[in-house]
Amino acid sequence: MMPVYETWSAERTAEIIAQYVDQPGALLPILHGVQAAFGCIPEPAVPILADALNLSRAEVHGVVTFYHDFRREPPGRHVLKLCRAEACQAAGCDALAERAQAKLGVGLGDTTADERVTLRPTYCLGLCAVAPSAMFDDRVIGRLDAKRLDALLEETWA
């Protein structure tokens, strides 16, 4: 399934904060909630989060930038994550990553100009016994090969 993101609003952000703020160490759950709603952590959300949690903006910013998951820009309509860790390397993921980059004309971590797909590296999906592995939107994929990869890239037009 392709995720559909909301447009940013301060009210919605406040709702998400209210949902988690009473938990100890609420910042990560809140950031996950914000990103699930908007597809990223929008810049104007940072001061609102800082205010709600009694943190400085710099502290919130520090957390957002520390974790690979949190992004400043929403992804493309589809996200293809290719595992680049050792088990998948042993099973030939390098060639697949090159193929995907060449076919899409973007590097790992980038989004195509038409915002059709974001290509991301990931370091282990725990599918190491069915390597090489990938994740396409919310679908897990094992025993990835060139043919299957091409079929996935075809699906990005949907």
Binding site: Y67, E86, A90, A129, A131
Partner: protein
């Protein structure tokens, strides 16, 4: 053919990744067309991943397995009478008799792939919650003593005795104590935590609950990585079920003990698997590694005494208490007692989870159990223990799977993952990747780790391009030495293992490389 049939198909992420859902759908259709009332139970995986999607049919003789099944195979399978265990080229016989499974000693994974992971009735029918019952009758001191006696050591990598850790927390006073379950499982080549959570989540919940009762903690957290959405969903559902049935909450299982457990999802940082970084992350901060002391057992989560254990350590406890410490301790080798769920991954013919007693040799695991490479080419190297583990050549295949034996050869067993590489591997590139990964994931606290890894990448790049191999190799050796002794945690401290082992055992990949003028990669 009977008019009703019962089958099992995994819904573990590893099985889904190779089409288990499509097989289930095709099977349901084929059955309904033939008027067969089909009951499909979705389970965890048995861990025989080269056979996934694996289909198991209930017959009077037991569960009969077929695999690997593609959706296109389903019509022919049904025509062959699989609902009565009929013959077909994909028929593997009784599941329990498949040699790869039969050879194992499944204690921690006894129920994984067997039961419906979210059915408490199933869990109980297979011995679940008996250990908690016994724990409640034993009392806190005796529970800890049993865990100490079992010889169980942490399965997250460091191998610290679990019972001793629990004892420290039990003897430390604090306004609140916590149990934190480390389900960050970041090592490539490992998937046992994921499999267990997706296949038998209640055994983990039971193990954590016992830990809580033993040390006097009333609150626990499971910190699970965001790369595991299926495990997150299964565990969330299992926690809700356990709460509903009074197995978590105010009076656990009718006792006077209160214990509740919460799920927290990581955010894609490998270093957050390190225990103190994980605690900071749980507190809502950047995952920066803390200096020790204080130990988490004294000042852990929110400054309170905290047990932090890996999924497998905690999930082994019900089996230990259920069968007694002596039975567990009897298994194993040297100071490594009990069983280890070993994970065979990468370019391997028979990849999956193999739980067995410590002591089996690396060669036995790779050649006999794993069947060599999937590509059919010779095995050249294996990396044991994740991205911080050493690369071992065939010459070291006599190493027994044992914490001390691996340490004696400058390696580690870590979380039990073995990644197999064939002879097409370029070990200088693997060494460069180890440095790249360290640079990418460093928490930034120590200079040797943060800066050294980046220098390492650059230097290995030069070696790969055939540029001044000898002085650059000397530089790498020097850098590794600095990282090893100047890093606060094992990310910076152990990255030298894969690098130095690659250099030591596969020097030909570093020296005498043709000189390339442009770094075309």
């Amino acid at each position: 053919m009977g008019v009703s049939a019962r089958v099992f198909i995994a819904r573990d992420a590893g099985a889904l990744a190779v089409g288990a859902d499509d097989v289930a759908v095709a099977l349901a259709r084929a059955a309904s067309r033939r008027g067969v009332a089909l009951d499909i139970t979705r389970t965890g995986s048995r861990g025989l991943y080269w056979l996934e999607p694996l289909l198991e049919v209930v017959t009077p003789a037991g569960r009969v397995a077929y695999g690997p099944v593609a959706p296109e195979d389903v019509e022919a399978l049904v025509d062959a009478g699989i609902f009565d265990g009929g013959q077909h080229p994909l028929r593997l016989g009784l599941t329990e008799e498949i040699p790869w499974l039969k050879r194992q000693i499944r204690l921690t994974f006894a129920r994984c792939g067997v039961i419906d992971p979210l059915s408490l009735d199933d869990y109980r029918a297979h011995g679940g919650y008996r250990a908690l019952e016994r724990a409640l009758s034993l009392g806190t001191e005796a529970i800890i003593e049993e865990v100490v006696q079992s010889g169980l050591r942490g399965r997250g990598g460091a191998g610290f005795p679990t019972g001793i850790k629990w004892r420290t927390v039990s003897q430390t006073s604090g306004p609140q104590k916590y149990i934190v379950c480390n389900a960050d499982e970041g090592d490539s080549g490992t998937f046992a935590d994921r499999m267990l959570i997706e296949g038998d989540p209640f055994v983990l919940i039971e193990g954590i609950t016992i830990a809580g009762i033993a040390v006097g903690a009333t609150k626990g957290y499971v910190y699970i990585r965001s790369e595991y959405p299926h495990a997150v969903a299964t565990l969330a559902a299992a926690l809700a079920a356990a709460r509903r049935e009074g197995l978590l909450g105010r009076g656990v299982a009718g006792s006077a003990h209160a214990f509740d457990l919460e799920l927290r999802v990581g955010a894609g940082a490998y270093v957050c698997g390190e225990e103190t970084s994980l605690l900071d992350s749980l507190e809502g901060k950047r995952g920066i590694v803390r200096a020790k002391p204080p130990l988490p057992a004294h000042k852990g989560l929110f400054g309170c005494p905290t047990v932090i254990n890996n999924v497998l350590s905690l999930a082994s406890v019900p089996s230990i208490l259920g069968h007694g410490a002596a039975a567990y301790r009897e298994l194993g080798h040297g100071r490594s007692r009990g069983t280890m769920p070993i994970q065979l991954a990468g370019n391997v013919k028979y990849g999956g989870l193999f739980e067995t007693a410590f002591g089996i040799t690396l060669g036995e695991l790779v050649d006999r159990v794993g069947g060599g490479t999937a590509s059919g080419r010779p095995v050249r190297a294996v990396q044991v223990g994740g991205p911080l583990g050493a690369y071992f050549p065939r010459a070291l295949f006599d190493t027994p799977f044992d914490y001390e034996a691996f340490a004696a050869r400058d390696g580690l067993i870590g979380h039990g993952g073995i990644v197999v590489f064939d002879d097409s591997v370029d070990m200088a590139k693997q060494a460069r990747f180890a440095m790249e990964f360290c640079a990418l994931e460093s928490c930034g606290k120590c200079t040797p780790c943060r800066i050294g890894s980046t220098r390492g990448v650059e230097t290995l790049e030069r070696i790969i391009n055939g540029d001044n191999a000898e002085p650059n190799i000397a530089l790498i050796e020097d850098l590794c030495h600095t990282m090893k002794f100047g890093s606060l945690c094992a990310l910076g401290g152990f990255t030298p293992y894969p690098v130095m082992s690659a250099l030591t055992y596969f020097p030909e990949d570093f020296r005498a490389r043709p000189r390339r003028l442009v770094a075309a990669e």
